[in-house]
């Protein structure tokens, strides 16, 4: 019990002190090139990083839903989505077939041994994080229909704040 109390107090401390940096992790592009996630997300506009897998139904629903409105989102806010597949070697070969079969326009990166997933403390997928100026500004795990609208609201809200500054 003592240990649990300690654990929770630690939790509280770190939660308060948590920072929003993007971990320094090398991923692979779909063609096997190495690309660091810090480099990939270093953009002027908002970047959405979505951790997903070919076997994860809610992940695919989310990316399908965003795919339907992605053109509009990009036109209005210049936001980019990077879909990071956490598929391991069992299913990773499906990724390229699936993203093409779905007709997704996202940049897709591979986290085959789950280094990024671990570093982000994501025990489940989907995990959707929103990045601006190399900082994580918001994160959400799980997907329910319509949560993509909340995400887009958030982007618009934050970008209008940015304009006021």
């Amino acid at each position: 019990m003592k240990k649990l109390v300690l654990l929770f107090s630690l939790l509280l401390i770190f939660n308060i002190n948590a920072q929003d940096n993007i971990p320094n992790i090398d991923l692979k592009t779909i063609d096997g090139k190495t690309l660091n996630i810090q480099e990939a997300t270093n953009k002027d506009n908002f970047v959405i990083v979505s951790l997903w897998a070919t076997w994860c139904v809610p992940c695919i629903k989310e990316l399908d839903a965003i795919s339907d409105v992605y053109d509009e989102w990009q036109e209005e806010t210049g936001v980019e989505l990077i879909a990071v597949s956490v598929d391991d070697s069992r299913t990773v070969k499906r990724v390229k077939a699936l993203i093409n079969g779905k007709g997704w326009d996202y940049q897709v990166l591979l986290d085959t041994n789950n280094d990024l997933k671990r570093a982000l403390g994501a025990s489940t997928v989907p995990l959707t994080i929103l990045i601006k100026d190399n900082k994580i500004v918001s994160r959400h795990s799980g997907y329910s229909p319509g949560s993509e609208d909340d995400l887009y609201e958030k982007i618009k809200e934050l970008s209008s704040e940015g304009n006021l500054k």
Binding site: K2, K3, L4, L6, L7, L10, L11, F14, N15, N17, A18, Q19, N21, P23, N24, D31, G32, K33, W55, V57, D64, D68, D88, S89, R90, T91, K93, R94, K96, A97, L98, I99, N100, G101, K102, G103, T112, N113, N114, D115, R118, A119, L120, G121, A122, S123, T124, S138, R139, H140, S141, G142, Y143, S144, P145, G146, S147, D149, D150
Partner: protein, 548 residues
């Protein structure tokens, strides 16, 4: 306890540095259950009714250095079905110090690594499966050129809060040929791996203290086509069963995997062939085939489609890499293939409708190796493909359609044949096959402001085993943060048992909490093609995750 206080002190002092550009990251995960007696299932709660697995991971980065540790507790007992070595234990499970700068990446302590497809080596963590085969030792990744890298590893494999007896060392090299030779039309890359396990054989000369494995691979992308091949040969080693050496002979092993795909916008096809012959590689020679998947070096997952629904997960495949020569059971490995096809029917066509229609289909066939066995002499001879016994055959088709702004639907059909020995463990080809057909209909209705309702109806037809099942799930999403569900799997063909459950989840920012009450259907729980057996049980479970 002292260790923890020390850790906290170190971390605390770290905060002062944190102001100078360093930062913390990590996460906390708690999975717990409260088991309850259930006469309807004939389930009697064990003495440790409350069980919890907790993981607290903290990492700190300062410039080129990153350090971290993971504290784990399995108190008062580990969740049902987890490896007994965790039960009632707690401690620092892994820790590391990493230096990363330009061409060098050095880790001391525990690390996770994968060579190629992982056939020759993969160390990873999966908390739901109770696998953490991180290696404790040193890893150096050297990238002298953009298109060339080397990874060297040396260490022992984690086994509970202990480490393996065997020492694993290895080297992996990757060369991107197209970049090296500035070829632009096609992407070509090659890789080579060497992994060796050293384990003392004591005074027994007939057991090798070193077992070496070599592998090579080749990958290409040419226009819309892509593919790869990886082959591994493992040197002579003993075979073991349940912690005992089961033959006085030595056997070598092989693994071969070939992938081929075609992808353009709107269409994707991917096919995989794999053959495994006596290809079980563990950090301890006696750990071979342990049901808790501890001390693994090689990663040989089942290459089948991971199904998504309750009833499509009753009859699943578990890969069969091992060599067994016993009078009651003979196996030499497996051979098989699978093919996936993804297709999008365009918007505005008759079948595509306003939003397009998405189709996914998969076929897989896996057989035991066609081999002749001489049980007396403990010898065997396997064909490359041959006509081995069918262990698993699966066909599935999924059609996904957004009907209107509010409505979307998914229809899935699956037909599966599986050897009973795969489903329940025990000798293969002994009790015959189970054939099942499963149909699933799922509909989602979106109400205003991210409220939605989801209904899933499922039915399974089978002549054998537990015969027919019906199942349903009803889920209501109050908003993107909060959802509740009720579900029932009803085996009306045989046992008349309802595996019901109710639950909910709340997710906000860095925190997610899920709570469920109900019955857990026993059997294989498979994630990423690796399976563990979970006994039937009833109770309340809670899962909390916080990341920071």
């Amino acid at each position: 306890m002292k260790k923890i206080i020390l850790c906290v002190a170190i971390l605390y002092s770290g905060f002062t540095f944190a102001q100078d550009g360093g930062y913390f990251f990590g996460g906390f995960e708690s999975n717990s259950q409260w088991l309850l007696d259930d006469k309807g299932l004939n389930f009697i709660a064990p003495e440790d009714q409350f069980r919890a697995n907790n993981y607290f991971r903290l990492d700190y980065n300062l410039g080129k250095f990153t350090a971290g540790a993971q504290y784990e507790t399995y108190l008062p007992a580990a969740l049902l079905g987890y490896a007994p070595i965790y039960n009632g234990n707690n401690g620092i499970g892994t820790y590391y110090l990493n230096f990363k700068h330009k061409t060098l990446d050095i880790t001391a302590g525990y690390f996770y690594e994968q060579f190629g497809n992982g056939l020759i080596l993969r160390s990873f963590e999966d908390r739901q499966l109770g696998i953490n085969n991180a290696m404790k030792g040193v890893r150096v990744i050297f990238t002298p050129l953009d298109y060339l890298n080397f990874t060297c590893i040396y260490g022992k494999t984690r086994n509970g809060f202990d480490i393996s007896e065997g020492i694993t060392q290895g080297i992996d090299a990757n060369l991107d040929i197209s970049e090296a030779l500035k070829i632009e039309k096609i992407e070509l890359s090659i890789g080579a791996s060497y992994v060796s396990r050293h384990q003392s054989s004591g005074s027994n000369d007939s057991i090798p203290s070193n077992v070496n494995a070599y592998g090579g691979r080749f990958n290409f992308v040419a226009g819309n086509f892509y593919g790869g091949i990886e082959a591994i040969a493992k040197g002579p080693d003993v075979i073991a069963n349940e912690g005992q050496i089961s033959s006085n002979k030595l056997y070598d092993g092989t693994a071969l995997q070939v992938d081929l795909g075609y992808a353009k916008k709107g269409l994707g096809v991917n096919a995989t062939f794999r053959r495994l012959e006596n290809f079980a590689f563990y950090a301890d020679r006696l750990a071979e085939g342990n049901i808790y998947n501890q001390e693994l070096i090689s990663y040989t997952p089942a290459l089948t489609k991971q199904q998504d629904y309750m009833l499509t997960n009753i009859y699943v495949y578990n890969a069969q890499p091992r060599l067994i020569i016993e009078s009651y059971d003979q196996r030499a490995g497996e051979v098989g293939a699978q093919i996936d096809l993804y297709y999008k029917i365009k918007k505005g066509t008759a079948l595509g409708g306003k939003y397009g229609t998405k189709i996914a289909t998969n076929f897989s066939y896996w057989a035991g190796l066609d081999a002749e066995y001489n049980i007396e002499n403990r010898w065997y001879e396997a064909k490359f493909i041959g006509k081995g016994p069918k262990l698993f055959r699966d066909f599935s088709l999924e059609v996904k359609k957004k009907i209107s702004k509010k409505w979307s639907a998914v229809a899935t059909f699956q037909n599966v044949i599986v050897d009973k020995g795969i489903v329940y463990g025990g000798p293969l080809e002994d009790e015959g096959d189970i054939e099942a057909s499963i149909a699933v209909l799922e509909g989602t209705y979106k109400l205003e402001s991210s409220k939605s309702i989801r209904l899933v109806l499922q039915h399974l037809w089978a002549e054998k085993d537990r015969k027919n099942w019906a199942a349903g799930v009803l889920e209501y999403n109050f908003n993107s943060r909060f959802a509740l569900y009720v579900a029932d799997n009803w085996n009306y063909g045989d046992t008349d048992i309802h595996y019901y459950s109710v639950g909910g989840s709340y997710s906000k920012g860095r925190t997610r909490l899920g709570v469920n009450y109900g019955r857990q259907r026993g059997g294989l729980i498979c994630i990423g093609g690796v399976c563990r057996f979970v006994p039937e049980n009833t109770g309340v479970t809670a899962n909390l995750t916080v990341s920071f």
